[in-house]
């Protein structure tokens, strides 16, 4: 079967244009999350965050260090190293399994507030038993959302306090 010369020309043109255009495309993609206060009623946003947290949970359960490193920010990875330091331990599969899957399920809890500022996002959810709120942090790395840590905010009881907590979590970084 003979190849049409016209198709060759089209294909070569496309390659040429691609060669011209691709170098000018931005490497990292912008944060797909909407900037500002998060609409916690919008399932797409929460699902994005939940997916990011679930990837971390999965890596922990499987003890997959490479997957865990890919799913969290370098800072969070460093924080985990710091945490293991006092026990004279290093981050390995056993440590990941001990960390367990405890992130994604937070995002099923009652959301109090969320915010996106630049590459960073944070969401506060109500902890059970009136034990304040849990603040989860994420960061867009240009390709994907990575988990950036989680902390208890014991003093947070309402949406206003939660809003302040999430703003503090993403601020001045």
């Amino acid at each position: 079967m003979a190849i049409d010369r016209g198709w060759w020309a089209v294909a070569l043109s496309a390659i040429g244009i691609a060669a011209l255009v691709f170098p000018w495309l931005p490497g990292p993609w912008p944060n797909p999350l909407p900037q500002g206060e998060l609409d916690l009623a919008a399932p797409a946003v929460v699902h994005s965050l939940r997916d990011a947290a679930a990837a971390v949970d999965a890596a922990c359960v499987q003890g997959d260090l490479a997957a865990f490193t890919a799913a969290v920010t370098p800072e969070h990875r460093a924080a985990l190293d710091q945490s293991l330091g006092p026990l004279d331990r290093v981050l390995d599969a056993a440590a990941l399994r001990e960390l367990g899957a405890a992130r994604a399920e937070w995002l099923d809890a009652d959301g109090l507030a969320g915010v996106v500022v630049g590459e960073r996002a944070a969401i506060a959810v109500r902890r059970p038993d009136g034990d304040g709120a849990q603040v989860l942090k994420f960061q867009w790395d240009g390709q994907r959302l990575r988990f950036d840590g989680s902390l208890r905010a014991a003093a947070v009881r309402d949406a206003a306090a939660a809003q302040a907590a999430v703003e503090a979590a993403v601020a001045r970084r």
Partner: protein, 1196 residues
Amino acid sequence: MLDKTTRTANGVIRVLTLGLCGFVAACLLPGPVPSPTPMAGPWQSALREVPNVQMAVQPLRGEAFKVVAGSGLLVVGADRDSRGSDLDAGQRQMLARFVQEGGRLVLFGDAAQWVADLEIEPELPERGWFRWGFDARTDVGRARVGLRVVSGKQPELFDGLPSSHADDNTVLFAGGAPCRLRRCHWAIGEPRNGHVLAVGAVELDGVDALPGAPLLVHWQHGRGEVLACGVVPELQNSDPVLQAAAAAFVQRCARWAAGKQLVVWTERAAPVEPVPELLPLAPLLPHWGMQEPSLDRARRRVDEVVADSLVGSFEAGADLCVLELTDAEGAASVPWAAQDPLKPVASYRGNSPVGWTRDAVAELSTEAHARSMLVVGGLDPVPAGSGATEQLVALRYLSRELADVRRAGAAALDGFALRQWLLDGKGYGTTMLQDFAPAAALLLSGEPTGPFAGGLRALHADDGALHSLPWSGLAGSWRRGFPADEFPFGVLEARYGIDRRRPGRWRGGSAPDWIVAQANEFVRARAGRGGGMWWLCDEAAVAPAALGYVRGVSLEPLRAAVVVPLVATGADGTRAAGASLLEAPPAGYVAGGAATASVAVHVLQNNWLQLAGTGGALRFDPQGLARFGDGEAQALSGSFLRSRLFGGRPDGGALRSDQTDFLANGRRPEGDHGPVLRVSAAGERRVPTILAADEQPAWPRTVCIEWNAPPGYHELTIVLRAVRQAGVATVAIDGTVLRALPFSPTAPVQPVTIPVHVSSGALRVLQVQVEHGGSCAIDRLEVVRRGDVGVEAAALVPAGSRAILSERAESSYHAERLDVVTQADFAGFVLRLHNDRAVRNLQVERVFALPGYTFVDSVDGEEPTALRQPFLLRAANAAMPDLVVAPLQLSRYEQLRWENGQLSMRSAPEAGACSRIGFLFCVPGEGDRWLPYAGKVLAAVDQPQRLDLEALGEATLVGDLPLATSRVLEIAGRSGAPFAVCEQGWWQWRGSQAVAGGGRWLRVHQAPGDTVRVVGGPSVLARTRPGPGSMRLLALREPTPTSATVRVLQPSRLAPPSVVFATDFDAVTIDGAPWDWFDGRTVFMPDRTATLRVQVQQRGNGERPHVRSTRAPLTTCQYVPERRELVLVTDPATDRASELPWTAVLAGPVPVSVENGEIVADASLRLPSAEQAARAAAGGTLIRFRSGTTKVRYGD
């Protein structure tokens, strides 16, 4: 028989012969048998090439000596203050004859004055101290001293001297940094009979001073010659140039003098004055107090000063209060009317709107005297011009207005403290004061020193500052030139802030560690020898923490238990930062010479132990003098406690990464700033571009940034760039200083990383403040969390009889608190471990590093690998103390383990669990004695026994230990006064420490079998008790309303010891002899250590003539009714200037005459009005008298 007689005769002959030989030898010797002296060695060494040199000790007055005609004598003057002639008449005669007959005499130092004593030279030289580098006039303080040759005679003395100065005619052979040496020179009149070979040459900080007075003089006297050099060449100077010049000059002088032989007299070793034996808990220093700043009457009333300051200090044992009578402009608040009989001084400044008025002084003095406290007026400066007459008259006026004891009684001041005064060798200042207040003290503080007859000297904290740096205070080896015998009093620095009121004289910048260092250094040299200290403080509201430290270290001088961060003396503290701005920081400035750790380290210490945080070094002073520098203390452990966590599981829900850039929200520009800018999420979010010490409102001095800090270990990176001038800034978190940072326009701008531990995840305040200098820009300020465990230390109880260091650690696994508790004068501590939170399965292993110790024994014979009862460790080095470790509280599964030479404890912490372990260090070899009782002793340290003073305010305490211990009692409620404590029969009045939650801690001494009695509350002041200024000076045995045995523990120097009896009386006996020195209910006694039986009675025969008030050291004070004479005898050994009389106020009828004195006419005192004169007369009769026996005669 004959043989026996012969043998006996031979023996006698031998003995006689030997005795004769000895006698002849003794006669041939030029003086006393040489004995080792401190100076002999270097001189012997320097003169080893000079033939026939013989070293000897300079004879004392009255000691016989011989000098061989034709030989030479070289005398090295004493290196201490001396008055009068060193020689008696016989010695003078012998030496004069020696020279007359051809001897050559060389006199160094103070001995140069001998030329006048020997009547070779009619012009008397002046002796004194040359000092440089002891005050804030200089940053360097280096002086080099020597001679500038001005004559071509006696060239052999100078030819070939090694070069010590650019000028060939100058030789420098003494000096240092700082420099303090004796100098004897002809400053007033030149020598008349001698030929001046050289004048004094002085180089100050590398710059030549003007040529001085004649210092090296030569005389031809009879057939002999004399050479006098008023400075002793320093043969052991640390500067090799000076040392070489000194040796060469001394050798030339020795060769010049040497004939058949040369005898060298060096000074006798100064006798070591024994410290008086004190009762176990008697204060080592008899007086302490606070300096009250000028009274801003718009902001503070006198009753508030009394309530806030006076009573608080009084409760802590203070007996002194100094009122700052002059404001920053040097003006007082005591106006001087133009029509006053005492003609006003034109330059007098008496209308300050801020200050202590007559009424305010009277009100405060009355309150203080009611508490047996002394009140002194501080004059910095005297509020009049600088002329001597103006100053004297102004002092006389203020004495008349504020200290006249006859008119004001209890409202009168007890003296004045001067900062600057004229050279007063005759005691003119004392004369001004004592005409109104015969018992009052006149104190002069600080440099420059000079003659000050009749007064007391005090060192002053301001002299610890450098010319270009404000941090003041004297401690350690920093400017150590204020000897205790010359400076029995001290003004110490407790101003946290830099006092900027006096331009060009910014002072302050103290800190807890500097307060402790100053107090310890000051008290150590003066323990048991009398004297006192008072503290310069900010207003209480400015730095309340300073008060806690001041009261704590003053309550228990030298022995106090303290917890201090090393803000001033730390390796990265304020003094180190300041010193780094200098080209050549003077030695000893940073920490007084002591070894230091970082600022953030909280040190727990008393006089025995120093623990630099639980993880730091543990040092021990075997003499209990709080000396912990390198080479002074024993290092018991390099790193006392290490904790290791294991077995825990990380908590994913608590993991966070944090990096905060505090400048991310932009910068606040110039203008509209107060001294402090607070940055928070809810308010101002921008950090100011620049911080400046003194540029408000353009820039603030301090920025406080609210920081939602997660627990853990962080690193703060800061870049400060100098904008205008150099300076020092501090970085602190919640007020705890983390680092002091210098900034300088000439230094490279570099980022500095500061470790920041956060152990509680609350809202914290990060503070950056310019402490001193110009201004700096904050170019970078960000923090990164680097570790999971944050440990913060704090002083839970800062200072006093007890101190508690608290370290809180928190991580994602656990939260716990380690408290270390100790008490004053106690060689041990208790470690408390509280667990607040722990993850499941977490275990903690704690290792106590005690290298050199081995396990010896335990109470129940427990195995060393499973210890739950007290056990004994002993060091291989027999000089190190025994250690008894007492587990006071352990959980069921905890035990201590001694294995492989280390002590450890492994535990599985649970929330709420608490363990307590005590450590008691004992005299080497005595651990066995303490082992059975260590648990009880340490438990009492951990939990002071609560004591209820019942309705009568009294309680008794029976000891159950066979060993003497000191223990702290916790007494409920506020006492309002010191407690009266009876230990082994002696009552002492003792201050106490405030407990944060209410109540007081009182330390008592419990001897075996003794019953301690404690009395508190108002009844203390209603009993027979120590009088004004005697609270820390006396102990009383069997005090009743009419009698007591009084033990004067040490001299006061400030006021005569006195006892206030609980009843009226008109006759007193001391040790059975009549004693007529009393005022109202107060009996005064001689100011010397003694035990006296004092009895009073009411005879009702009318008022008996007696002394109401005097400062004279009376040894006899007795009215003889038969002769109608009041006989006063003073100790002739007093060092009072002969021209300066004593004064006294006599109660009773007006005397008719005074033998050895005079009655002072009230008219001569120029009292303000006739009414006031009448009032003065009603207060008694003023007399002046001289030392010796004085007889005051009364008519019919």
